[in-house]
């Protein structure tokens, strides 16, 4: 119950041993290119292909495709139905349902939108599946990110199982006392309030102890921090990170200019 929440899948290989921030740079580059880079469908197919190959290389093809489909299937279904009927540029009617007509253009647009998100999702899943939380937080600290920001990113993940546990226990005791959580909307809201109010109030007041413990552990110390575990960032990877982000930024600017000219 106390395992920190994480999507990490145990594995080995060159992709796994890449610096966490290299992988994160990759995800950011993909997100930038997908939305801002020049080109439309052909761009998505190209990036998608690259990520597909990366997934094969990382040995994460199956889990990442599975999760992507699981997360995007509802979106795909809704888009295919709604855009098929209501996409403004619909002209090639495939069939009609009463007064509503289903068109090819809307169907394609639905596929395009889903593919665009799917590509980014796939990239971020590769990052999440192959990176340990502790390595990620250490990489952030070493990279010089403010210790306060690192705390905000890391500590909630370690606190979450404890809170989830407390909620779980309260729910169980409520159910065992017959304070059922089923029933209509108002009943459920009413059951919810006494359940969570003490938890939230307690959690808020506890923040004072958490803060003073940070103070006594020199969290506010000024100056350079040291690290128990050294995470090695090779020159090659440093260059790769910069390259990924610069290329993505340049292409995004080109893409933005291109679209501005077309309009």
């Amino acid at each position: 119950m106390f395992e920190p929440h994480s999507l990490y899948i145990t594995g080995k290989g060159t992709f796994y041993s890449l610096h966490p921030l290299t992988k994160l740079s990759g995800v950011l580059a993909v997100a930038l290119l997908v939305f801002l880079g020049p080109g439309e469908t052909e761009k998505i197919i190209l990036i998608g292909l690259l990520i597909f190959l990366t997934a094969v290389w990382a040995g994460l093809l199956l889990p990442s495709i599975k999760t992507t489909i699981k997360l995007l299937l509802p979106l795909l279904i809704v888009l295919v139905v709604v855009q098929g009927f209501f996409y403004p540029q619909n002209t090639t009617i495939l069939f009609s349902l009463g007064k509503y007509e289903y068109a090819w253009e809307g169907f394609l647009y639905a596929l395009f939108v889903t593919a665009r998100i799917g590509v980014i999702l796939l990239a971020s899943l590769l990052f999440l599946f192959s990176t340990k939380l502790s390595d990620f937080s250490r990489a952030l600290t070493i990279s010089g990110l403010s210790s306060g920001l690192v705390y905000l990113i890391v500590s909630p993940i370690y606190m979450l199982p404890d809170f989830a546990d407390r909620i779980h226990r309260i729910r169980e005791s409520q159910q065992s006392r017959g304070l059922d959580i089923e029933g209509n909307f108002l009943v459920r809201i009413k059951a919810l309030f006494p359940l969570v109010a003490p938890l939230i109030l307690g959690a808020l007041v506890e923040t004072e102890s958490r803060a003073l413990i940070l103070e006594t552990r020199a969290f506010n110390a000024i100056g350079k921090r040291s690290s128990l575990v050294e995470i090695y960032l090779s020159r090659r990877e440093r260059v790769l990170q910069i390259l990924l982000l610069t290329v993505a930024l340049i292409l995004s600017v080109i893409g933005i200019i291109e679209r501005a000219l077309f309009l």
Binding site: L75, I153, E208
Partner: protein, 196 residues
Amino acid sequence: MSTVNQSKKFFSTMTLTLMAVAIVINMVLGQIASILKLPIFLDSIGTVLVGILAGPWAGGLTGLITNLLWGLISDPVSAAFAPVAAMIGIAAGLCAKFGLFKTWWKAIISGVIISVALAIIAVPIRLYMFGGLTGSGSDFITAYFLALGRDLFGAVIIQVITSNLVDKVVTALISWGIIKALPNRFVSRFPGADKV
């Protein structure tokens, strides 16, 4: 004589731990709301609380990180809405600055303002990133208004506001109640103490 150590930091350790716990509260309450199949999200109570107690920037950052982390550990799609969550915190913080969390009925007004403010960010994200729909339950509102002959833009605005209005008003009211229930000595540690 006493603030030597903290003046160099953007946030005090108190604000920092408050934000971290608020992020967890967002996640846990969001989960409960979805487990109990409530028609509201409840996933921004922590964000609003921080906005009120520690100001718009702290509130915005709390929202932003909540969604980015949720994207990291559970549902990557929520990361796309991180700017919306940030807007909720900023709006709540600004409302509090203007005294709009002093009484319960003012808190309701804050809830309405937050809903409108977040729509400014949420509508473009829904439209351009997701083609107007996100695969969530409230998509049926969008579809319904499209079927009535509205354009996608109008339908999405209606969807975003209607699905958020009740949630944000309830969230603002609960946040107001929580702040009232907190010990005075605790609240007085935060910059927003005199505004509630």
